[in-house]
Every structure is written in C-alpha cells, then in structure tokens.
C-alpha cells in the first residue's frame, strides 16, 4: 500500500488534434512545439510541478511515440520522484477485454486502478491542448473551501464568441446552476477551460454509473458534469483571468506563437517564480552572423542565422542561410531555410528543409504549412493556406 496523496492529476493527451492538419499526422497534439523551446504539454506539466502536484498520469492513445520519449522519466519537470511522478498510461488489455479510450470520462474510468494506488482525496483532470500558467493549488483551495464535489475552471470569453464554448451559468456564490454546451443564446460568458477538480470518491461513483449508461458518450462536459448537476451535487466555478490560448488549429497555433512577440508578453515566460520547464536538447547558444539581421523575434539555442529574420519564432537548431528571409513565421526544431528562400506567414515543422529560392506563404491569407521532415525542392512556391506533406507534388 502506497502512502496517500492529497491530489493527483490526470492529463488527457490522447486526442489527435485533427484541426492541426499535417502537423499532427505523426505526432500527438500535446507534443506539438510551441514558443521556441516548449511543447504544449510542458505547460500543464510545469503547472503541476509549480502547484506542488507530483503525481501525474498522462493518458495517451494517438501517435504516442514522440510524446512518450519526450516525457521520459519526467526529470525536466522534477517529476522523477520515488513516490509518485509522471506515468504514461496507454489503453491496455483487461482480462479478455481490450479497448481504446472511448471518451474523456472513459479514459479516466479505465485508469481507476492507477488512481486508487494513491488513494487521493481529489483528482485534477487536465488536457494537453492549451497554453496557460495556472496555480492548480489555488483552485484546489477554492474546491475545498466550497466543500465542492466538482470544481470547473472557467474564464470569461467575449460575449459574441460564447456560443462556441461550454458555458457555465453560476449564482453569486460561484455555484454552477446550469451547464450549456455551445448555447445559441448564452446566459453567461464563463467558458469551461476543460480543467476540473473532483472529490475522488464522488468522481469514482459517477464514472462507474456513467460507464453503465450505454447511451452515454462518456465525456466529462457532455455527461458527467450535467449528471452531477441534475443530481444536485455541489459544482462550483473557479474564475481564471490569466492568459489562456487554445492552440487547436493552424491559425491559433501561429497566433499563440506571435503573441510572444508583443510587448509586454501576454504570458510571462521570464517569471523565475513560475518557470515553464521543457526537455532541453542541449545545444550551444545561437549564433547571429555578421551580415544577419534579426528583429522582433524569439531565437533559441542551437540556431545559426546568416539571413534575415523578422517577427518570427525560431526553435532550437534552426538554420537560416545567407540571403534567406523569414517573416511572421514559426520555424520548428532543426528546420533549415536555404539561401534565397522566402518564408512568410508560415509554420515550418520539425526538420523540414526549405530549398534554395523556395517561397512559402504569402503576405496575406491563411498560414502555409510545411510538414515534418519534408524537403521542399529549390524554387517551388507554396501558396497561402497550403499544407505540404509527403504526398504533395510540385
């Protein structure tokens, strides 16, 4: 019997993130690079460590290889502790039955044995889809103070966008009185962030009941929360006002990167009291050559810049050759932009090789994307919004 944990986290990292197109063809969404040296999953994992949560189950299902390798022992996030730590939890055979995770609630249901090992009072449910810094411990205090059965983190969204979200209608004491999934006429603009804290005893009961309900789609937002509300459980909202960005689409991923180039940064990544940790590739400092020109950009260790870089984010080990121009672009680890190439309003994925004189993206229009390890022949033109993968021919 292991000693008890007050609160453990379960991070849902199994989604494909299909709206990210070619970028998630071989990689799960939480492993997508962001902000020069991070991956999306670094944010919830760092939040856990900084909030004092040292036990995290990461539920994977779609293209887990890269994510597994990235998480490793959990050492970069100080999650390599002897009691607790980070665990990658793929679906597994149980007796004669083996099945995929059917929904967010089902994924947790299938891992109840993992949770029980720690006999926690509370379970924090996270997703690997957002860029944000949040003190989960403050949220837990809110949950305990309200003697809640479930607490849902919410943030105020612009009223005109409220009908795109799961909206919480609350009373004056933060009690959720009604939950509406994508309401046509929203009564509130408090949107669920997909971050939940449950009193484990209650959650276990609802997971078991939900599993027995064959009509249920086994989803927290669609099934568990509405059922708890219907049965008059105490469900409270926890207001979060900080930076929070969904990076579920090509455009929003690009925007979230560009956000880091505004002053002041909307999400402070210099904050020494709330560091965002990442696995470090161990490159030498980046080099800016004599005739290079870099403005308004983020440049990471291991980069070699001989050309022009404006208003862009370069990840570790990127090379920009002399005579190449990179503008309004996100260039992921190890990509090479060869001489004379022009990249603008684009995402260049890991290890892509942009041939000499190639043109990627346009000054206006949608973001162009070149996929993982794609070699773009010299002189080709990738238009706005185009996604270049293995099957693309020129």
């Amino acid at each position: 019997m292991m000693t008890k944990k007050t609160c453990i986290a379960m991070l849902l990292a199994g989604g494909q993130g299909s709206r990210l197109g070619i970028l998630t063809k071989n990689v799960a969404k939480p492993a997508i690079p962001y902000g020069g040296k991070y991956r999306i999953i670094d944010f919830p994992l760092s939040n856990c460590t900084n909030s004092g949560i040292d036990t995290v189950g990461v539920l994977t299902q779609y293209q887990p290889l890269e994510l597994n390798a990235y998480i490793g022992s959990g050492a970069p996030w100080d999650l390599d502790v002897s009691h607790g730590g980070v665990f990658v939890l793929p679906p597994y055979q149980k007796g004669k039955v083996g099945e995929w995770y059917r929904g967010t609630a089902n994924a947790i249901y299938q891992n109840m044995a993992f949770i029980e090992q720690y006999n926690p009072d509370y379970v924090l449910i996270l997703s690997g889809d957002h860029i944000y810094k949040m003190d989960y411990n403050a949220m837990l205090n809110h949950h305990v103070k309200h003697n809640a059965d479930a607490t849902i983190a919410v943030r105020e969204v612009p009223w005109e966008e409220a009908s795109r979200f799961g909206i919480m209608n609350t009373d004056a004491d933060d009690n959720v009185v009604e939950f509406e999934e994508k309401p046509k006429k929203p009564k509130s603009n408090k949107a669920s962030m997909g971050v939940y804290i449950f009193t484990w005893e209650k959650l276990r009961k609802y997971l078991i009941e939900d599993e027995e309900d064959k009509a249920s789609s086994n989803d927290f937002g669609k099934n568990i929360i509405p059922r708890m509300l219907a049965e008059k459980q105490t469900v409270v909202a926890y207001d979060f006002a900080g930076y929070w960005k969904d990076v579920g689409t090509i455009e929003s991923l690009w925007e979230a990167n560009m956000d880091l180039l505004t002053t002041p940064m909307p999400i402070d990544l210099h904050d020494k009291k709330w560091r965002v940790y990442a696995r470090n590739p161990g490159y030498a400092p980046h080099y800016i050559a004599e005739d290079a020109k870099v403005t308004d950009s983020l440049i990471t260790e291991g980069c070699q810049v001989y050309g022009r870089v404006e208003h862009s984010v370069l990840f570790s080990g990127v090379e920009v050759e002399a005579g190449a121009t990179v503008t309004d672009a996100v260039v992921m680890p190890g990509a090479i932009i060869r001489r004379g190439a022009v990249v603008r309003r684009a995402i260049i994925a890991e290890g892509a090789d942009i041939g000499p004189g190639a043109i990627v993206g346009e000054e206006t229009g949608n973001i162009a994307v070149v996929g993982n390890r794609i070699t773009l022949p010299a002189g080709v033109h990738v238009t706005a919004g185009q996604q270049v993968g293995e099957d693309t021919t020129f």
Partner: protein
Amino acid sequence: MKDVMGVIYTGENDALLRELTMMRAIAALPVAGRYRVIDFLMSSLVNSGIRNVGVITQKNYHSLMDHLGSGKEWDLHGKNDGLHILAPFLTRENIGVYNGMLDALRSNTNYLSRSKQQYVLLANSNMIFNADIDKFIDYHIESGAEITLMYTRDPSVRREEFGTYIAVDENAKVTDMEVEPTHPTHECTFMDVMILKRETLRNIVDKAVAHGQHNLNRDVMMPMIDNGTGNVNAWEYTGPIWLMDSVQSYFRFNMDILSAENRKKLFPDNLPVYTKVRDEMPARYGDDVHVSNTLVADGCVIEGTVENSVLFRGVHIAAGAHVKNCIIMQDGQVHSGAYIENCILDKQAVIKRNARLIGPDAYPIVIAKNVVI
C-alpha cells in the same frame, strides 16, 4: 559501459585569471555562453562510456559543486558509480589543500581502491577540448603500454616556465619529458590527460607516499621515462584546444568560438557537450536591434546593438546600449546609452545608463561579479 573510471583534478594555478577565479575554480569558469570549463571534459568522459567520475576539488569549490550537483546532467546519478566529489579534508597526513593530483590521490586512496574499473583516466581541468576519449582508451588497451599520455602539437597552449612537454618517437613511445622548462624544447605538449591500470596507479601513489613525492609529472613520470623503467606511450589529440590560464586566454577562447569552424569542431554532432540546464525562455529580440557575429544564450533580451560578443543566459541589452567585443556572463545588464568595448562582465554585473568602458585590445577590462558601474 567502459572498464575505465575518470578522475579530474581542479586545483590548477589561477593567479593570472584575476577576479574571474577569485570565487571559483578554473573548472567552474563560465565559457561559451552557457557552459563551464569542466563541462567539455565531463562530457567527453561520459560520451566515451565512462560511468564513474571523481572530481577532486580544492579551495573555492562551492560554485563547482553547485554546477555539478548530483551529476544528473551527465547521467552520472545512478546507483552504480556515478559522480564522486572528492573535497579536501583534514587528516593527520593532509592539511587542507592538495599539492597537485598525486597529493589528492593519496588522500583519496579509498575511492581508488573501492572502485571496480580496471583502468583510470586522470585529467586536469584547465584545458578546453572535445576529444573522442573512446579512441584514446582503445589505443591504450591495444598498444599494451603501461601508461599512455595525451598530447597536442597546437602551439597556442605552450607557455614558458609552465606546462609539461614530451618527445615522442615514431612508435609513439615517450622518450623524454620536461616539466615547467624556461624554454620548452619539445613540440608536443602533454595535456595532463593519462590512462593507466588502476592497480598501477595505486602502486605509484603508495610509492610516492613512501618517498615524500608530490608532483606526478616531475617526481614520477619523468624518472620513469628517463631510466626507461616504464613503458610510456603517447596519443595525439588533433582537434582544437584552449588553455585557460589568464584573462587574455579566457577572452581569446570566447572570441574564437564565434567562428563557425571552431564551433563545429568543439561541438561535433557525435560528441555533445552537456551542462546544467536553467530553463530560460528563448532569447527575445526587440524591433530596433543590430546584432552581428554574436553568440546568444536563452533568456537574453536584446534591444540594442551587439557586435562580436558572447552573451550568457539572461543578459539584458537595453535599447540604445552598444556592446562590442565583450563577454557578458549570466544575468548581466547593459543599460540605455552605455557603450562597452573589450570588457568581460562577470555574473550579474550592471553597466548603468550612459556609462562608457573601453578596454585595450590586448587586455580586456574585467568587471567582477555583482558590480554596478
């Protein structure tokens, strides 16, 4: 897994490094934007498969201990072997600091006898190079020599009245050795890196204790080579090498790695250099900046002009500041309107508004840690 252990000595003479080594060993000197001198040797040992490394510390070793920690960054934190910090301690025979490698080994015979590896690689820590140690070890074992010394023909590490020089014949046999000669006559500089059987080393240490000998090169190696009692071979390292023994040589090393060619040789893809990670965000460039021929580490914020310089992690160059031919260590700041040239700013040094500091080309100005100007 190699049947070799490594022992690094970190107590070299540092008088000419002035303020830079006032509070730290040469091994802990910050270099190349994010490393410490010892990182290169530590990484070379680990890259060759060595899993047991002892680091002999001397005075001012706090900063070195802080840097090495549990040895995690070099994967030396396992249950078997790993990193051993051999700090000086007072016993009846030993008072405080060690007088060289031999003296230090004498005080740490327990570590030597407890270790399981058949071979020991000894090294000093005041030279920066990235050797394929694997080849050195293989050569030693295949050649059947009793001791193999690593040497370089690079003239830049030669110093009058300092260092050890060897003559090597066509069979790679060491035929002569001169220690701290006024004018070195042999063109091969011994890099103070050697490999031998652990058993042989223990005999050497025992004998040295019995005869009151302190200097490994002068008292043990030289007589062994002179009277032909030892079978001592040499192995040539042909890559780039830098000796960290003065402010000038420190400055020159940092400037040398601005060259892409030198960087490629010092950081080859197959021999990565590990260091302590600081989890800083990527460097941020403002909209009116001019940066050329400069190395920049993560966590920097650059809003001004920087030429031919090395910026360590977390350095801030304000708008309107101008930095030329400088080395600015971790968290240094240069405020608006300041102009600095040929300066070395130690950690957390601050150059205030409109200050001007210009050092002569051959003798850079050193601003000590935490100083505000």
